[in-house]
Symmetry: D2
Subunit: 294 residues, 4 copies
Amino acid sequence: MNSFTLTVTCLSTRGVVAAISGYLAREGCNISDSTQFDDRETGRFFMRISFLSEQGRTLEDLDAGFAAVAAPLSMDYSFHDEAARMKVVLMVSRFGHCLNDLLYRWRIGALPIDIVAVISNHLDYQKVVVNHDIPFHYIRVTKENKAAAEARQLAVVEEIGAELIVLARYMQVLSDDMCTRMSGRIINIHHSFLPSFKGANPYKQAYERGVKLIGATAHYVTADLDEGPIIEQDTVRVTHAQSAADYVSLGRDVESQVLARAIHAHIHRRVFLNGNKTVVFPAGPGAYASKRMG
Amino acid sequence: MNSFTLTVTCLSTRGVVAAISGYLAREGCNISDSTQFDDRETGRFFMRISFLSEQGRTLEDLDAGFAAVAAPLSMDYSFHDEAARMKVVLMVSRFGHCLNDLLYRWRIGALPIDIVAVISNHLDYQKVVVNHDIPFHYIRVTKENKAAAEARQLAVVEEIGAELIVLARYMQVLSDDMCTRMSGRIINIHHSFLPSFKGANPYKQAYERGVKLIGATAHYVTADLDEGPIIEQDTVRVTHAQSAADYVSLGRDVESQVLARAIHAHIHRRVFLNGNKTVVFPAGPGAYASKRMG
Amino acid sequence: MNSFTLTVTCLSTRGVVAAISGYLAREGCNISDSTQFDDRETGRFFMRISFLSEQGRTLEDLDAGFAAVAAPLSMDYSFHDEAARMKVVLMVSRFGHCLNDLLYRWRIGALPIDIVAVISNHLDYQKVVVNHDIPFHYIRVTKENKAAAEARQLAVVEEIGAELIVLARYMQVLSDDMCTRMSGRIINIHHSFLPSFKGANPYKQAYERGVKLIGATAHYVTADLDEGPIIEQDTVRVTHAQSAADYVSLGRDVESQVLARAIHAHIHRRVFLNGNKTVVFPAGPGAYASKRMG
Amino acid sequence: MNSFTLTVTCLSTRGVVAAISGYLAREGCNISDSTQFDDRETGRFFMRISFLSEQGRTLEDLDAGFAAVAAPLSMDYSFHDEAARMKVVLMVSRFGHCLNDLLYRWRIGALPIDIVAVISNHLDYQKVVVNHDIPFHYIRVTKENKAAAEARQLAVVEEIGAELIVLARYMQVLSDDMCTRMSGRIINIHHSFLPSFKGANPYKQAYERGVKLIGATAHYVTADLDEGPIIEQDTVRVTHAQSAADYVSLGRDVESQVLARAIHAHIHRRVFLNGNKTVVFPAGPGAYASKRMG
């Protein structure tokens, strides 16, 4: 008996919930969780449903059969097997705390993903990655080879069929082309509470402005730097007694957690793009649990 | 065109969402928000649906027609008009911050309730209540007149047909009988992070234990003191440099907010009793907005 | 036996703490609380000391005698009587939640200030202010009379000898001249987490950017709009399900609290200007306690 | 030029700050940070001072010379070299997240300690510890060998001269004797917001009580289980939609951080025992900064 997730977006219309839930009932599926959002401003409808297929319908059956339900309401939809692990490529430069954190969560099963590769423009984390039996790709990036380097990165992603790229403090700007190609499939962690302190050295900017909280922002990457749809943010208190170097340390925890929460939401299909914003549904029962102790 | 809310609880069964949403679609209702929870441990299903009745069905029509849908699945359900304001009685003793906070939220429309009466065993807030044009009932409580006093309190509640009693720092223990009679309809604010520091003087207890956070808990009142189902909690940081008297001050904000959030959830039918626990669904779009500025 | 506070800033030099504490010991004063900060970047030293004058020295005695200690180290210093209440003028426009909150805290003694006047460019809160027996000054502001209106405001402030102006959601921009004249003595609450969303309609800006936390910032007012030294900030979580109108409601609590905390710090002489930043020392024992219950 | 820290406790007396700072000034020391606390209830005085010895006085010089200052006021005091790293023994059972987190912070210099040994009653983390070039001691504990096992643990601690034991989710109860012997030098992380949910399985207890926040508590270990002086606590929000297994996952981050913050405070001599409570001074400038990137 399989657990599946269905995500749907369409124009908000009377009868849409009945159409979807009626279909699932007819196909012998038992809904275990569902959330919806109607954007009053745009008239868009968003829905995420978890269900058990109690009478043996497969993902393919359900997907094929749903076409007739979706067509009249022009639904965008997709079915997912909850047991399938998303293939993820991590990219990192020289700050390793997010990488370390994600590897740990992956190792103990708290982030049920397949880390299919780590790409870095530095060699600092080659050993730690290799010790986790994950392929490590050292792709140096210079002013001169930027396009070629990116082609190699994309090749890695596409050969493995990775569905998500996570920029875990990867400090090179991606080209517009790559951003467009992987739209909604690259998550970046920015070390400030956006839209404050875009660009380089946000902790130094924060220190100089004298803010009383610093923060971190996980967002989808778009061609417009630090302007992509925000998935998750959080803040942490600082005082006059902390220097910019202290901020870097204090920011590590909040960066790691904000990024991990954003990935968790993405892989559970809880995040929907809504123009330049996101809809993020809360986690369902059991979504955080992991089997291993460490 | 009216906005209604439907709440349903029953055993979790295949087809329940389809049954409910199918009915609403047939009756010309457009679902604008819905959330559900399946308790895996108990097998109970909880659902809250907001919808617009676009073809003129009244609350009475919908309620009557739903009986046939509800019966086969043994649903407990009720329909509510979102424009109707719940009748609420506030009870207060000598600490006035929650009362002041609730009166303000009510005044500016942030808590869309009807405060039909304030009952107090002291006279401290008679003037402020009367200035808000709310009936004030001074019901003195002593060891000797406890039962009689409570009978008078109940008389106030029942004559007005109040649906909710809020103990806004009311410092008398209610009788088992009253707790049972008003089960799920009395909300209390306790000035600690329950289950820590039950009973009297929780801030002093907290100070003596040397905790680093103090808190507040809003819960439904049951015969078992400070043990009722928790609706909302929050905490605030303290240090060694604060005394128990400081805690009292620092606790005011968190008490006021926790209580206001619990009432907000209750009046929007977002809280469900689930044994000795609660299910609290998140607020729908626009639920916090108020028209007035102050 | 009186409680006094001494604040000192000077260049960081060896012996400065000994000089200060030695003086206080010789004058029969018992230090009950002290905090210091050495800004490594600028070399500035900041100190706040609370003490009891156990042998009868008055504020004037101490102030006069300290000159000889302060001179060699070029200290800026001032002594304050902890029992003296700072004279404060509140200014408000049409949003009344901060005003309501401050009046309440003042009423119960949680903010030990003298509210000597409320100035407004609207009449909305005349009645509530008058009912608190506080002089209300209605000073209309239009494009044409801006300078004259400000002159009247300043006249109110100067006649009463007010030491602090609090802009409790006062929506008119003050002139550069007034900002300079009252430098470090005007506190404003801005309804965003600065430096994000400066200027008008920050909640709408926040909604459009799709942030996951909204915030509030209390800062000293300078000629450079929304750029003054930040005293206190805080944030509160929002989701896709809240509209800009919901933000306005959710922001009320955080605005009120951030402003109250900033005023609390200022009146207890815990805030120091440090260029365009602030040093904010933590509250000493008993600083939050208030005698009244509501 | 060395950075030292001086900690002092004594009865609160007039002149104590002058005596301490006067001594340091005479010895050519420049105070860079200082905080004090006067406990009004007990009359105890607590002070922590950071300073630079600008004229070459060594720790030994200063310590010897201070005796004459300390004696008349019966001060307990100690001088510490800020460059010296505290020797720490970690103990762990089967949950590895705190261990992983502490190893990472140690590795990048964010926790400037010497981890001189890891002791475990299980073999799960032998490999990870050994890969960090830290001695791993597998000391099995059974009902029968408890005393012998503890003797071996103490032997490890004492042979290396460890100054602190950290119970990083070590699930065996220590004997009264060991608790007394290492009083104020064993820090435990308990996975609840104490005093709620003492003893075994706090997440299950929390789930059953239906709390809306879960938490973690770092405290000094005493013979009285889960009753020792609290150093640090924090909480994280949960909803009805999370199971006890989810709590375990959500609790990992808060446990790891609370423990790391408590250790950070302890090793910087910011924590003082005050009866069954603690005084925890805020971190000084630069205290969080670390040189390495990951």
